[in-house]
């Protein structure tokens, strides 16, 4: 190995810049999972009977399941009895009524994260539903939204205020029987976001949620449900960070999207959970089920994700293209550095006629990171004239990392057209030297090359988040220069 390779590797070592712990009292359940804990959670949240019944069914189902072993990731078995399933920030009153009542330390945390909760929110045109551990602490701009008939609230609130909508759509895209972690989430989920866009309404602003895991040993199991009625459209962004801790934390979320006729949902994620240290100690296990149902004709669901954090990522935001002429998109950047592992990709299930899907996946591996793309394109029997285009590109930095691609293609209709392109490249010493020769130092050169590689995905992100994503990649690749 030449000097230049070593230099490149030196530059990709990074420190986690969001590793601070907020010191506030929490109101937690004891560790472990049982029917009692589920009843405790449901009671704490004052849920209606149907919710508890659903949780308990999911729990019964989960008990008989085994955790999935097929992903290309390695980690010690998770002890599900050692996890705290409910941790809410303690508050003497029944929860804050407005931002003024929110614990200042909490707001400080958001400040460090750059969540635009105050006036900045209005300037940025962002409404934020901030989830801190398990309870949603402040939802801004509900008023503006409600004038348009848009419902944007915490999941617990939706369960109380809009039980008929929750009951109608909960589990309709990701049933609790779907997989091990989806069942676990259904049993114990603590909060999350709920969005409902009524018929013909274009949501007047970007909706955004920041999730953050704070309490030690707590699992975060949030659940998001977005419903866009006929002709409605919405763009939603979630951003995630977690404090540095030595032990691993579990994050098993479920996201369900439903788009009816001519509806359009864009879901963007910037994920920066704590990735663990250089030796692979600590970090988030991010086991997430995300799926959108294009239920109506000409509906569209678009996933964009930038994944730079987590010790292990296991996630496949998918689209079920049920309505005729519906469209599914998946744009992804996944970066693994040090000992991070990612097994991520998408599923495009073509059910209706003339359905179209696009997959653009960019995997970056640095350090000892392992990055796998796993994707399924399925064309069902009645999906006449379905089309898919997939492009999976991998970029390697250094010579100790790995990139893997597992594309699955199942076609049962002969009129369909499926394309798959894949490339693997390495940041070359020649590229670095070329940049150096023009006066650009190595760190900036690496950032420039990586950002160029990710360009097709970044341009799918809303403007301000594209900047954030780019900054995040730079930080994740940063190291001690010299």
């Amino acid at each position: 190995m030449s000097d230049a390779t070593e230099t490149i590797e030196g530059f990709v070592k990074s420190d986690y810049k969001y590793g601070f712990i907020t010191d506030i009292e929490t109101d937690s359940a004891p560790p472990g999972l049982s029917e009692d804990i589920i009843r405790f959670i449901s009671k704490k949240k004052e849920e209606p009977e149907f919710m508890l019944a659903w949780r308990l069914k999911a729990y019964e189902y989960w008990k008989k399941m085994e955790y999935p072993k097929w992903p290309m990731v390695q980690y010690p078995a998770v002890d599900f009895q050692d996890i705290i399933y409910y941790a809410a920030p303690k508050d003497p009153s029944d929860g804050p009524k407005s931002l003024d009542e929110v614990d200042p330390k909490l707001l400080e945390t958001y400040d460090k994260l750059g969540v635009p909760l105050h006036e900045r929110a209005r300037l940025a045109g962002v409404a934020v539903d901030a989830v801190f551990d398990s309870v949603s602490v402040g939802t801004t701009y509900q008023k503006t939204l409600s004038e348009h008939g848009v419902i944007f609230c915490s999941f617990s609130e939706a369960v109380k205020e809009h039980p008929e909508l929750v009951q109608k759509y909960l589990g309709s895209v990701v049933p609790y029987t779907d997989n091990f972690y989806a069942a676990l989430n259904a049993a114990v989920f603590s909060d999350g976001s709920f969005v409902y866009i009524p018929k013909g309404v274009r949501c007047p602003m970007e909706l955004s949620t920041y999730f953050r895991i704070n309490a030690a040993k707590s699992g975060q199991f949030e659940r998001t449900l977005i419903v866009a009625e006929e002709g409605a459209s919405v763009s939603y962004l979630e951003g995630c960070t977690a404090p540095m801790r030595d032990e691993n934390q579990l994050h098993a979320a479920v996201v369900e999207l439903v788009a009816l006729d001519h509806a359009d949902i864009k879901y963007s994620t910037v994920q920066n959970w704590y990735p663990g240290d250089e030796e692979g100690r600590g970090g988030i296990y991010n086991f997430v089920t995300k799926r959108g149902l294009c239920k109506g004709v000409k509906s569209k669901i678009s996933w964009t994700q930038v994944e730079t954090g987590s010790a292990i990522t296991w996630k496949y935001p998918s689209c079920v293209l049920q309505g005729d002429d519906s469209v599914g998109e998946f744009y992804s950047v996944a970066l693994t550095n040090n000992r991070q592992q990612a097994d991520t990709g998408t599923k495009m299930i073509h059910v209706g006629k003339n359905t179209r899907s696009t997959i653009i996946s960019k995997g970056i591996s640095a350090g000892k990171g392992q990055n796998s793309y796993r994707g399924l394109v399925q064309i069902r029997k009645n999906a006449t004239n379905a089309r898919n285009f997939s492009q999976c590109d991998s970029l390697l930095i250094g010579d100790q990392c790995g990139a893997h691609t597992f594309p699955y293609i199942e076609v049962k209709n002969t009129s369909s057209k499926v394309e798959h392109e894949a490339t693997t490249s390495k940041i070359g010493e020649d590229q670095i030297f070329y940049c150096n020769q023009r006066g650009i130092e190595t760190q900036d050169a690496v950032n420039m090359i990586v950002n160029g590689f990710c360009k097709e995905v970044f341009r799918e992100l809303p403007m301000e988040f594209a900047m954030e994503a780019q900054a995040l990649l730079d930080v994740s690749l940063e190291g001690s220069v010299g």
Partner: protein, 252 residues
């Protein structure tokens, strides 16, 4: 301004340069010629500071600074430029963005204010016209899908933009047809000034019809075995290298 003394260098224990001496003053154009494998490109790389070469003996100074102590980016900040024989491609990074970063890095290192986007665009459009570059050139990803000729033109364009005090042109003429050669040479000559020097590495005398050197050196087996004026290039064209090599082998 630029001075190499008794430079010995190689790769993985194999000697390539075996005692090169070269001095270049402001405003001078020097040409290095020589058969394949004589060490011409290696010399260019070592001047620019490419990793992977080991300098075992000798010195290399530029503007009274020891170049061997500096990284390639620091040398670029001082005003050294290498036009690559094989320019690399960088997908997704457009030429304008790349050059803006480069120009501003160099300006920053010299304590100058960075150019804003408007100033910069105006500046590079003038330079692009100089090299007769097509309009979409600046928006395309750096060298991606460029023809050989376009890549070479892009190198000289970058040189025009960065305005180096010492430029090394590594076989810039290879792969160019006669029209492109004229355009490129024209670009090089426009950059010329009493403060700026050039070192032109080439196989062929042809280029030197357009870029007229003050001095011509023949590099053979890691040493400069003969130096002369521009007429030396013509003589080489006519008689080949053998007579120079033979006369150099004669004990003096």
């Amino acid at each position: 301004m630029f001075k190499i003394q008794n430079l010995h260098a190689g790769v993985e224990g194999k000697d390539i340069l075996k005692g090169v001496n070269l001095e270049i003053n402001p405003g001078e154009v020097h040409a290095i010629m020589g058969p394949n494998g004589s060490g011409k490109s290696t010399l260019g790389h070592i001047i620019a500071g490419k990793d992977g070469y080991e300098v075992t003996e000798g010195t290399m100074d530029f503007k009274d600074k020891d170049l061997l102590d500096l990284g390639p980016d620091e040398r670029a900040h001082l005003g050294i430029f290498l036009a690559f024989q094989y320019p690399v491609e960088i997908p997704g990074v457009n030429t304008t963005y790349f050059l803006k970063s480069a120009v501003n890095e160099v300006r920053k290192a010299r304590g100058l204010a960075e150019l804003d986007a408007v100033e910069f665009l105006k500046f590079i459009k003038e330079k692009a016209a100089l090299l007769e570059l097509p309009g979409d050139f600046l928006k395309r990803a750096l060298n991606v899908g460029f023809s050989g000729g376009e890549k070479k033109r892009n190198e000289i364009f970058q040189m025009a933009v960065l305005e180096p005090t010492f430029a090394v042109l590594d076989e810039t003429d290879s792969g160019l047809d006669i029209d492109a050669l004229k355009v490129v040479s024209n670009g090089v000559n426009q950059v010329k000034s009493p403060e700026r020097s050039q070192l032109v590495i080439t196989h062929y005398q042809r280029l030197l019809d357009y870029i007229v050197p003050d001095f011509v050196h023949v590099l053979y087996d890691g040493r400069i075995i003969r130096s002369g004026g521009k007429e030396l290039a013509l003589e080489l064209e006519e008689r080949g290298y053998d007579w120079v090599i033979e006369s150099a082998a004669q004990p003096v």
